[in-house]
Structures are given as C-alpha cells and as structure tokens.
Symmetry: C2
Subunit: 121 residues, 2 copies
C-alpha cells in the first residue's frame, strides 16, 4: 500500500466524542492518535513507556501529584514513563498522542473512560 | 528533571541553517527533531525504520522512484522502512521529524548533507 499524507485537521473533523483516541498513522510499533478532550480524565500512569502530547487546538493541563503543566497549541510535552498524571481541559482541546501500539489510555486504572485500542479513522 | 512543554515555533527560531535536524525531545528511544529545508536533499533510505515527517510550515515534496508525494502544513507523512526517497522544497519548509535515536539523515549515502546526530536545541 502506498502511504499518503494525513491531514490532521481533516481527521479531527471525523471525531465526535471526547476521550476516545483514534489512530491515524503508525511508525514501526508506535501509533499516532488523535483525541478531543474536555473536562477531567482519571489519574493513571504508563509503567513501560513515555507518552507524547502535541496540542493542535486549545489548552491542555497535565497535572502531576506535585504540579501542573499547561501545554498550549503548537507545544509538545513528554509525560515520563511511570509518572502518575491526569489530563484536564476547561474548553475542548485537540491533541495528537504518540506512544507505542497497545498502550491503554487509562493505564491500569480501567473504568468508564478506558477506550478501545486500534480504532482507526 | 521535570519536563516542560516544548514550543516548536520558538525552537524553530533558533535554527539558521538548512538540512541540519536539531533534537527537541525524546520519547523512550525515539527523538523529535526540527529541521528547516530548502532545495533538494539526496536519495537515501533507512533500512531499519519508518520515518515520520510532520510539516509545520511550507510544502514538502517526498519523491520516491515511482511517484512524488506533497505534504502540506498540518499534514503528517510516514516514509516506510527501506524505501528510497528524496525530500525537496521549492520554498523554505519547516518539518518535525520523528524517528529512533541514532538515525542518520542521509542513511548510508554519507556526504556533504550528512548532519551530526544528537544536536539539541
């Protein structure tokens, strides 16, 4: 199959729910996922991997137990492996997530916000 | 060390040469590199890895032996592992490259455009 460019903003228009990452590309065993989020997620960590957030629209708060980081449009942020965090956005925020295939969005804290993996758009 | 958000546009202002990728972040053993490019690169391939280009500004042409792909601002493109390609930009283009640490920009085709690795900004 011949790869084509992926227009992230066009893909975002296909997403109509919050907290449900959709895969748009793969590089080796890593995935690029788009997500729309608003409100507060759940505390969790990823024991085996860093996780990257790139904000395409809005303002993303990444809260740690000891501080908060605000990630603005055009900024990239690396959540270190094993560090507990929660994401939060007052207004709707659009984020590109980059992480290895198979990472569960809520880590081990499975619940209502745990999204199915490998849903492509 | 506590990670901070990385403003890609602010980082781009620190780059004053073409074809010399600068590392701005790491995720596990992968690196995020910013590059400004204009003109034509050299034919090469990366035998062991896919390579991702995300265009932040301008229009990037990725030429393969059998076709050309044009990647626009806001678009992401995955160059498959082992496939010969050459990048080209009529006007200056700003690109975020995502690939494993240690990948040489020119692959095995070392020459004048081979850039040093692990130069952080």
């Amino acid at each position: 199959m011949k790869p084509e460019p992926i227009d992230l903003h066009a893909k975002l228009e296909m997403i109509h729910e919050h907290w449900a990452p959709k895969v748009v590309a793969e590089m080796n065993d890593y995935q690029f996922k788009l997500v729309k989020l608003q409100g507060e997620f759940v505390w969790h960590q990823h024991e085996n991997t860093d996780e990257v957030f790139y904000v395409l629209h809005g303002l993303l708060e990444v809260r740690f137990r000891d501080r908060s980081v605000f990630v603005r449009e055009g900024e990239l942020f690396v959540v270190p492996k094993g560090v507990e965090h929660i994401t939060r956005a007052e207004d709707e925020c659009h984020v590109l997530i980059i992480e290895p295939r198979g990472v569960i969005n809520t880590g081990a804290q499975k619940g209502d916000l745990t999204a199915p993996n490998d849903v492509w758009i």
